[in-house]
């Protein structure tokens, strides 16, 4: 009985973690896709906590003498997988970030060059409305590229 109560506390803890995670998803601090894996893991933990006999059966079926050994082995394996997944995601993000940084640098250089060709010696012009209500001058190529139209 005492053991079952402890498991219920663990199940409640998992639910609290899942709730916190859900809040982060709703606030768009983390994406649903990347957190699904953790949600599924927490759900599995809740099931194992609520039905302890299931843990024992699976542990014995897999050759573990003690259910706790099975639990820790699964937890370590899951954390290792999670770490690899995070590494892959980080590396992919870094590669994309490098490519974007390069593209941004190249585009800015191109933009600066066009701006200098457009108005050599002067800073890029910004069209302003005239006082007599006449329409502003037609936007230059620089203005178009800078989104000033």
């Amino acid at each position: 009985m005492q053991q079952a109560e402890q498991y219920w506390i663990f199940a409640a803890f998992c639910c609290v973690v899942a709730t916190l995670l859900l809040r982060l998803v709703l606030r768009e601090r983390i994406t649903l896709q990347s957190s699904l894996w953790v949600f599924f893991s927490l759900a599995a933990l809740v099931v194992l906590a609520v039905v302890p006999d299931l843990t024992t059966s699976i542990a014995h079926a897999m050759g573990f003498a003690l259910p706790s050994n099975f639990f820790f082995a699964i937890a370590i394996g899951a954390l290792a997988l999670l770490h690899v997944h995070t590494l892959v995601t980080l590396s992919r993000t870094e590669v994309r970030s490098i490519a974007l940084t390069q593209e941004l640098g190249l585009l800015r250089e191109k933009l600066d060059r066009i701006a200098r060709e457009d108005s050599p010696g002067d800073p890029p012009r910004v069209p302003k409305p005239s006082r007599d209500g006449a329409p502003p001058a037609a936007p230059t190529k620089t203005d178009v590229l800078h989104g000033r139209t």
Partner: protein, 243 residues
Amino acid sequence: MRVLIVVPALNEESGLPPLLSELRAVAGRDGSSVEIVVIDDASTDRTADVARDHGARVVRLCRNLGIGGAVQTGLRLALREGFDCAVQMDGDGQHPPSELGKLLAAIQSPNPPDIVVGSRYLQREGFQSTLPRRVGSGWLGWVLGIVTGEKTTDPTSGYRVYGRRALRLFNWSYPHDYPEPEALVLAKVAGLRVAEVPVTMKERQGGASSISVLHAPYYMLKVTAAILLAYARSWHRIEPRTL
């Protein structure tokens, strides 16, 4: 021949003016059309302004990418704008512009290699670096020789010329961790021809090396592992016929 000189620079406001002035003086002597681009790797000083004031094109990176990312930016620019080759040289004054002619002559020879590497150890003239660095370079050259089957005397030299095939390869993939030796592995696996040309180099005129004496052994270990991994990875990823 259209040549783009790529100068990656990080906080090199003091080293760039003499380099760019000298480059302007020697560039185009052989009739080539030469442009210079400084890749400002998120410097915190006036590197970009100084480069622009000295007539160079400037690509400013909004975050620091390291030497690999900066060089690849310049190589991508060269490929997109149809340059025949791109020269990579450091912005700290180690690579004398007066040696540029030797590299360009090699890439314009009748049977040109795809990459020409300026080697300070082929004729052992000029600044030869410190003993630990020479030992390290020798070790990396030996590892590269085993991996690629070709002797390399100066695998860490950043004074290089890339032809069109090399530009296409490195536009697709360029190593970011230890780019110089890894790039040679990549080139070899891709079936590119690499040649070394003797050049003299100078001590750096400004800034500080990123590798201290204490970190040198660890650096060597990492680069050795990187070379071996780059070789294994390249075999999986490269299709030479596409170059």
